[in-house]
Symmetry: C2
DNA sequence: CTAAACTCTATTAATTTTGGCAACTGTCAT
DNA sequence: ATGACAGTTGCCAAAATTAATAGAGTTTAG
């Protein structure tokens, strides 16, 4: 599996927030209901997005979440990089830790590097607005 | 992470078997040592390859594993489809089970379908021989 | 006082990895 | 011949790790 529920849900939430965009904050419960996703699980996903200033959370009555970036410049790649444990095609290509000492003569590595670039380029070419408008650019 | 250790190891073993190709059978221990991979784990990976006639296993003294298909026609995609739990970009796109009832109006689905095609096309364009020769086709 | 995000922790489920034993096959000693 | 032996795959289950979900309480803002 390439993308876990975490990244998938994050993207759906952002699309939801973009569709219902306004100055109001939208409570998590409302999003969770609309998207049919566990409230508590969403919470942990949104935390990463808040921390990285993709969305803003406001506590208390009338609080909730609100997009804080333009959906037309927010790419799927950027979102997934924040929510997925790792977007690298294989563990060997993770920046931190995991670096394999066979790198120099691993015959399969070029395959993974190629895949990596392909996937990154694709995901970074699609924005939240593209998803809403149904205009996914051909690769 | 896109590709798990299972698929990664499978590919490395097949490259190894192709490099050392002959009528002889190569014991798992030898491959595991050469590749630095747990013997037991490899075993479970090779099982899937044996069952699908990619390689042949022979028990007893002088036994081991041997390629039973031409590495020039065996693609990375074919291997990964057998070893990875799922190559689909997201769970929703798995044939069996997992089918999501939001499919019809999910705004993110086209993204995943596009990613799926991209990845499949790429992986199926590369053969074991390509990996050995270092000739990975541009996409 | 109430509705909401936030924090921290525990539970459940799925995946990955390891271990032990059975079954098979060739070789060598008798 | 043949029986014991050693090297090997094959099978089944258990342990370890990671992902997904749920719960209870704390803080904040109207």
């Amino acid at each position: 599996m390439i993308i876990s529920t975490k990244g998938r849900y994050a993207l759906r939430v952002l699309v939801d927030l973009a569709e219902h965009r306004s100055d109001e904050y939208i409570p998590l419960k409302e999003i969770a209901d609309r998207q049919g996703i566990s409230e508590k699980y969403l919470e942990s996903i949104l935390k990463a997005l808040v921390k990285n200033n993709i969305i803003a959370g406001l506590r208390g009555k009338g609080g909730g979440y609100r997009l804080s970036v333009d959906p037309a410049v927010l790419t799927a790649g950027a979102v997934l990089r924040l929510t997925e444990t790792s977007l690298a095609s294989v563990a060997c290509l993770n920046k931190d830790s995991d670096h394999c000492e066979r790198m120099d003569d691993c015959l399969t590595l070029p395959l993974w590097k190629g895949l990596d670039k392909l996937v990154c380029d694709y995901l970074c070419s699609v924005t939240i607005s593209d998803l809403i408008n149904g205009t996914i650019k051909p690769v």
